[in-house]
Symmetry: C2
Subunit: 743 residues, 2 copies
Amino acid sequence: MATINDIGVAAAINIVTAIAFLIAFAILRIQPVNDRVYFPKWYLKGLRSSSIQTGGFGSKFINLDFRSYVRFLNWMPEALKMPEPELVDHAGLDSVVYLRIYLLGLKIFFPIACVAFTAMVPVNWTNKGLDRLKHSNLTYSDIDKLSLSNIPNGSASRFWVHLCMAYVITFWTCFMLKREYQNIALMRLQFLANDQMRPNQFTVLVRNIPTDPHESICELVEHFFKVNHPDQYLTFQAVHDATKLSELVKTRKQMQNLLDYNNNKHMRTLSKRPVIKMGFLGCCGEEADGIKYYTSMVESLTREISEEKERLRTGTKSIVPAAFVSFKSRWGAAICAQTQQSRDPTEWITEWAAEPRDIYYDNLALPYVDLKLRRIIVAVAYFFLTFFFMIPIAFVQSLANIEGIEKAFPFLKPLIEVRLLKSIIQGFLPGIALKIFLLFLPRILMQMSKFEGFVSTSSLERRSASRFYMFQFINVFLGSIVTGTAFQQLNSFLNQSANDIPKTIGVSIPMKATFFITYIMVDGWAGVAGEILRLKPLIIYHLKNTFLVRTENDREEATDPGTIGFNTAVSPILLPFIIVFFGLAYVVYRHQVINVYNQKYESAGKFWPDVHRRVLTALIVSQLLLMGLLNTKQAPKSTPLLLVLPVLTIGFHMHCKGRYQPAFVTYSLQEAMVKDTLERTREPNLNLKAFFRNAYAHPEFRVGENLEKEMAVEKPHTTPELVATKRGSWRNTSLPSKHSCPA
Amino acid sequence: MATINDIGVAAAINIVTAIAFLIAFAILRIQPVNDRVYFPKWYLKGLRSSSIQTGGFGSKFINLDFRSYVRFLNWMPEALKMPEPELVDHAGLDSVVYLRIYLLGLKIFFPIACVAFTAMVPVNWTNKGLDRLKHSNLTYSDIDKLSLSNIPNGSASRFWVHLCMAYVITFWTCFMLKREYQNIALMRLQFLANDQMRPNQFTVLVRNIPTDPHESICELVEHFFKVNHPDQYLTFQAVHDATKLSELVKTRKQMQNLLDYNNNKHMRTLSKRPVIKMGFLGCCGEEADGIKYYTSMVESLTREISEEKERLRTGTKSIVPAAFVSFKSRWGAAICAQTQQSRDPTEWITEWAAEPRDIYYDNLALPYVDLKLRRIIVAVAYFFLTFFFMIPIAFVQSLANIEGIEKAFPFLKPLIEVRLLKSIIQGFLPGIALKIFLLFLPRILMQMSKFEGFVSTSSLERRSASRFYMFQFINVFLGSIVTGTAFQQLNSFLNQSANDIPKTIGVSIPMKATFFITYIMVDGWAGVAGEILRLKPLIIYHLKNTFLVRTENDREEATDPGTIGFNTAVSPILLPFIIVFFGLAYVVYRHQVINVYNQKYESAGKFWPDVHRRVLTALIVSQLLLMGLLNTKQAPKSTPLLLVLPVLTIGFHMHCKGRYQPAFVTYSLQEAMVKDTLERTREPNLNLKAFFRNAYAHPEFRVGENLEKEMAVEKPHTTPELVATKRGSWRNTSLPSKHSCPA
């Protein structure tokens, strides 16, 4: 096992890496040439159109104002300066709630760490429990002396300290969680109450509309809602199966890009017209005039698109059995979204429509049986993914300590024994291997969620996030403890009687602390510092800028700001050693939220119940581990006292769920009525029908409406039409997605 | 362990008991003197006012028509004759659905039993697996040779038969369950659709009304619903805390009874006026004139009651923060009941109001926090009840086999070895001891449910039933297997190495079949036959008739028909050997439903999802047991194949839940609208306000309204007012409880 020295080296390496990243960032961010990488949000918001220049030659690319290098760390206070309400306006509630996760981490762990270091370290350290085990084959190190493993069996008074700590930790965590849940529920309710008028407040997504031989889907929808919601029903928007149209639009875009590229080329070298080859990948085959060829392609595609659009508009065959039904008031929509419409629960399934830009159109048409089948298939697939991923992880874990490698490959011994190398391996190997494994996971999970049939990007991401959490939980946490222990202690196990096995497990679980410390340092410290450097976007941006960027259009897309990876970052599962991580992450993400990330949708903090549940899960697992541990330590008196803790924690969870979760799931009639009444007073002559006309049309379907706008460079949008309140964070309010154009 | 002979003797005893009960019933039921015991429902329905007499002296008490004795078993075909739709009219949908549980049992187990006896018995019987174990200390008997225990380890082809059977059983059970769920959901929907107009279709129970310093609860309710349901709100009924009134009314009733008794006495012996003693229990102290004393008591109580009623009517202090809010249409009520009203989910909690006679008024006033606290307290109490009940059961189980007793008390050996006695002990002891334990349980569970704060009798009974099921499951089923096995095989365990323990458990679980067979014979066969004899009501009725019955009023109450014990009977957990039980139970309960039980409320089969879930739980547990068993039998190849079964079963459960459960939980807006529209066409000038005026007043509060009616003997009711449809099973429709009077 790793000694304190190993941990020290690993920490040093990680700290150096993190600091290097931060310095690199501090220097790179003030280079005008990188402005679009580090401040893309301001460009998208239209608050900045070109980088700030300090004058002089080259100042367009490199910052020559040396004074600014002196203040290179001042982005940190800057990031912390913006007050929370302003941040909500600037970046949306989701981002603010996301930041509060890290703040919550600090609030929970800082006091606990203080108490733990003053109370528990002395209690554990001043023991000889592990020394006594020396005669056995168990491997341990100095750092393990800090853990519970070091307390000898039956040392009652010392276990009492741990017991009290368990109670203190539980109560403190629950207290903080409750306060935070309350705050965020309140923030969400206020946000929704102050929010401007948006189509999704009035609109319900209806799926699984039954087929009727006598009526078309449109007629059916109209009749059904006119009958069952006579006073509230306003209008509806049919959903088209626009797959073919999407493809055509996509192809035309590519062709248009190539055309622009060839035009540019022609502009530069006016003498000769650009020539392209028609064969494989443009490398061989007969030559043709590039401009002519692409112009004709674009033209024919445009024709095809308008034909396809006409076909969709006039025909009814492409209409899928789903519709967006809009109501005259929020009250009416709240009723329709939250009740069962039809006798048959598999038909006329209603739910709140997501924001137009949040809708994932591909899944709208899935029938009920398909949905259920897909859910089962994905569950099975996820199960296998989770449990077969465990094999490589377990293998890496078994290699994670030098002694293990040496035992397995004795011939490597001289190499590994080099002091520095040994420490590096100890510190980095386990964390990095795991990190690489986990890097590919979110995409797979997202694909699974898409296949499963969720209808909004936000729900897709929430589902992926909880799958990712479960995966981490089983593989990283439980997997490391069980298989890591098993591989490592196998030798001991085989040499002792069966009755002693639980005891050995009890001793070795806390020894795993080393692994988690390195994992958090790599994943947390260096990872977060790397996040702010935006290395991948930086490289891609400059690559595109140098070699690939062909048109202004493309450059716009190269500054893809990305969205916060809610689906990977929300997993507060690895708890020790992480105050630094939380602090660093808070500052870094606050900076990113302010300057980089552009929100794709606004769910008003709807993911908080997931966060809450995950923290509690981690808490309960830690309680159970402690219980098992004390049990093997022959402190059985403590078991009933420890058993109370998970029961209380579950009770606390139920309480919070009943008390605060409804704010994230339902929309009360009272709120709806208040908002409706206010609005009716403020704007008595509102034309709602016009407001809804195209709000939920398929993005590609709408995109083609007017070609010139689609082709135009995306411009900063004006604040959206209608009832403009103070709040302006729902930038794309009436726009289905970023592909669409300003109205 | 019991031999086949023991089982035979036990079966014989049980069969004889059952037949004796049935014959006794057949003779007793045709005695006119017992008419009120065996056909109380016809008296309550008013279809019979005195027993059918065949003429002649004594025929008032004893049936002298000997021809009727010849046909003494013809109650069975009679019970089966009434067609199902008529039964729904006669006894309500709940009873019909309850009967279908037994029918479902027959449908599931009869084919399975056929297949099992043709396929599995030969496979198991023709083995020597247990003979090989003879050298060990395991005790086994001939009957165990029929079980899986008898197959030697690693006999692959024979295990395949078991595997296939597991699949066949699972698929057949799921198929039948699905069909039944579908049928019952349809029956429920039709029943509700055809149902006459009742206040609970329009009424929502609102609880946790917040306090307001400026408004009374009544004003608050009125304002809240006028604002938030402007078009639909009609009226509301405040809930009074009428505890004191209830007590007064109860006391007056006792006094009135005593007065009547003294009057009767005086009538018989006109000479002397009845004298009572004023001291302890009427046995000592100074004497007084009975009639005068009780008359004055009744008078003063009547005065007090009307004062208290006046106080309740005029004052607002007794109003609790709950109300029954009625709407203009079912649509409006459906909306209010199924959505969240207020921003704060702990205030203005709405749910469908139960039928007036189903309401449990005592719990209406409980605040939100109390409810949660009570839920936790009851959960903890239930946990301890379940797990500490296990100790006596385990003790009884350990005594349940003769060899165990002999080993424990060697001096009893000569006594026990008497052949017949031994068989009796073997056959009866375990079942009866358990039965006595379980006899006291339902009351405790019901008290727990009442404490927990449910607001309707039906939900109280459903909750008690599921607790009872859980209890049975843990204690009878798992408890018998684990501790029974442990006690019995302890000797073997201690003498073998740790690795062999799972194998031993695997061998002995199927041996427990004997215990379950005796349990089912006692509980099922004799129990059901005893049910039809109605021994307890019969004895109590005749006792009261001879010694206690004082007034006609009392006699009415002595014919308390009881309601079906949904809370104890719905637990199809013990699966083997029970076709006879299901058949017998079906006939017996059909007879009882037709002739005896009077329904206290109508939930339209709302308990079916519970039944469905329990059958599936039992199925999954049996699958897991088989898996563990085959694993210990060194047939590991079968494990993945068996693992598929519980996964499929859980998937099936999810499917059924999504597909059919909503019919039992929600009320769709479409249905509500259809019913509203039909009714509006049929009765355009309906005065709904009058209809609701007193529907949900506290029963005691209403009872006192007119004294003469309360005192009157309960008469058969005419069909209720308004929109009288064909259906007539909701006899007390507009009446809060059986204590109330006809309108």
